[in-house]
């Protein structure tokens, strides 16, 4: 079982759209996939029409005998399950703070699912917190969507800096990619070029800005389901191919 965190300190960069569409494509490719909606805003749950409610809240999720299993729901797509968000997740940091081994909690919970799933995708809330530290320790790959702007670049540097200081995150791969790219804007293209030169490890594939992604809220479906022919569907497929290749590649020594 591999774990991918979709994460950025900044909000509004296309995290949820990435998590939902990649989870769908992974399941379509035959992987038994779980999408964990960690964001109390519950957008992933909404896109899959699953009520953002976990019985007993995140407290029971973290502390219950049965682990994550009882809270998991089947989506409408074969091979794809979702662990819905719950409003109580706003207190997640507090709860994690109280616990022993507080940064390994997610990793421990997910370990119990390794027979059931081939891939887990974590849709993470923005900000850098105790919950994010849990994500960093549980994930094999951190996928960072980034709008090509100056502010985005700063938050990425912040993140890399934070991860670089802590030996516990050494096995975590970080893969930034450009998201919501508007190819008509000179500034986007310039930033992209400069960032690729400055920071190595950017994925080749990128997700263009598209009204098709915005209409996910109306369809409440992954983009490839209702707009298979659109360029943005092809972009998500290319992104999934990149991610899948990274997951299958052996770790560098």
């Amino acid at each position: 079982m591999k774990v991918v965190g979709v994460y950025n300190i900044k909000g509004g960069v296309g995290k949820t759209a990435t998590a939902v569409n990649l989870a769908y494509l992974a399941a379509e490719s035959g992987l038994r996939t779980l999408l964990w909606d960690l964001d109390p805003q519950a957008a992933s749950s909404f896109y899959f029409r699953i009520k953002p409610k976990v019985k007993g809240g995140v407290e029971r999720l973290l502390g219950g005998k049965h682990g994550l299993g009882p809270a998991i729901k089947g989506t409408d797509f074969a091979g794809l399950d979702l662990l819905p968000a719950d409003f109580s997740a706003r207190n997640l940091d507090l709860l994690l703070q109280e616990r022993k081994g507080r940064t390994k909690w997610f990793a421990r919970l997910l370990k119990r699912q390794h027979e059931t799933y081939d891939l887990v995708i974590l849709d993470c809330p923005p900000s850098i917190s105790r919950a994010s530290e849990n994500v960093f320790r549980a994930a094999d790959l951190l996928l960072v969507p980034m709008i090509p702007t100056t502010l985005s670049a700063r938050t990425l540097e912040q993140l890399l800096d934070f991860l670089g200081k802590d030996a516990r995150y050494r096995r975590l791969r970080v893969a930034p990619f450009f998201s919501m790219v508007d190819r008509r804007r000179r500034l986007h293209l310039d930033h992209q070029q400069r960032l690729r030169e400055q920071l190595p490890g950017f994925l080749q594939s990128e997700i263009p800005y598209s009204s098709k992604v915005e209409s996910m809220g109306i369809h409440r479906l992954p983009v490839p389901v209702y707009a298979e022919e659109s360029p943005v569907s092809a972009a998500y497929r290319a992104l999934w191919a990149d991610v899948s290749a990274l997951l299958n590649a052996p770790l560098a020594a």
């Binding site: 029409r49 699953i50 998991i72 089947g74 409408d76």
Partner: protein, 532 residues
Amino acid sequence: MEDFSNPTCLYRLTSQKADVDLAARIGEQLRLAEEPAEDRLLTLYDTFDWAIHDDGGWLEEDWGGDGCLLRWSALDGAETPLIQALREPPGFASDLPEGPVRERVLGAGGIRRLLPMVRLRRHAHLLRVLDDEDKTVVRLVLEQDAFEDPATGRSGPLGTLVRVLPVRGYDAELRDCLDLLDTLPELEPGPAPGARFLDALAAIGRRPGDYSSRLDYSLDPHQRADSVTKTILRGLLATLERNIDGARENLDSEFLHDLRVAVRRTRSALSQIKGVFREPVVDEYKERFAWLQQVTGPVRDLDVYLLDFPGYQESLPAPLRPSLEPMREHVLAHYDEDQARLAEVLGSEALRSLLRDWRAFLDAPDPERTAAPNALLPVKTVADARILRMTKRVIKEGRAITPESPATDLHELRKSCKKLRYLMEFFQSLYPKEEIRTRIRLMKTLLDNLGGFQDLAVQAVHLREIADAMHREGRAGTDELLAIGSLIGNLLERQQGLRNAFARVFDQFMADEHQSAFRTLFGGDPRPAAER
């Protein structure tokens, strides 16, 4: 993902109403989304002798718009079904692509080919039960099935089932849905999973386990001996006939093997159940079945080489193994020719007339008077006497074997043992089950020793002949001849091992417990008078 803690539920449509009605009926109570109907073709696979079913599973090929799957599911539904993708129809289990299903069926399938037993043509209509967010919470599949006989293409309807597929995490909605289905008068709780294949098999006149080469009669001890002997022979004839097509097409090696065993048993019954038919009849059919035994021999010999070949190879040191390959090629080079000749015989008028005449004889009413001295005796009397007599012979011949005895003496003993074993198997239902089975197993142990001894000797001689022929045909150089030589050495060594073990195996046969069991079972002491 399906949650297997919630087993699939099935309902049966009580009438032949169209499924649209049912969708409407359910739709009155639940929010439904209807998906376009889909056609699937499900084929049940098993070996001719139902080895997969005997091992506790159904093996099905599931072909639909999204490709082809191979699925193994437990008969009792207790294990999670196994699934793997499939590109071409199954043949031998060992030829399946790597995957969990192959792994599961490899042992049971063994050397037998997987054959299509029955087909289901399924018209499936998916209904999704939705909650107020339009989220699917339960799936209902209306399945209209038709059976199809793979042999004849004959088909017919099997009625409609409603399959309820749970969605993980929606247990309350599932319960509501089942409660509703329970109240609909159009539906009744359906068959157990897997019962669909039983229905389809029944519709084409078949059932799991409807073929076995084992002898399984229930005989009446008081019935006249000629009549019972005909019953036994009719069973053997049925086995023989059922294997003809498979042997002719060479689907796998066991069709011919079972056919030959049925012929051998037929000949043994004719000669060993003495005095129940008139002598000219016995002589005629002994001769005609001897012909069948003889013409089916060459292909069986080649089959045995091919089946034993991996073992032959393993018995050699690794550096010699590649040099054995030309021998396999030599055998294969002659195979097609011999198989073609066999197929000709199996489709010949000579065989058809033999089986026709034989059936006519077996089906003819029992004569009121006959020259056959034992025909009218109760079968138990005849069986007791024959088995006792043959046991005496085995004891006498076995006792005479010494470390210096020639191989021909062991061969004679083997023939007597085989006759005795067949007699006990033919008549086993006349005796207490456990008692007779123990004695049949005892005979098997003895026969394994003697048969092994004899077969290894024959193989060594044949390998020598093959080496000769390969040498003549320019297929064998020094390496190949040395490899075969080394193999012959191994076989002769194993043969000597069996020879050394004979005395111990025979002593076991002579043990008091068995000898007294023979006495009780067959009403006489088989040992020489001086020893009683």
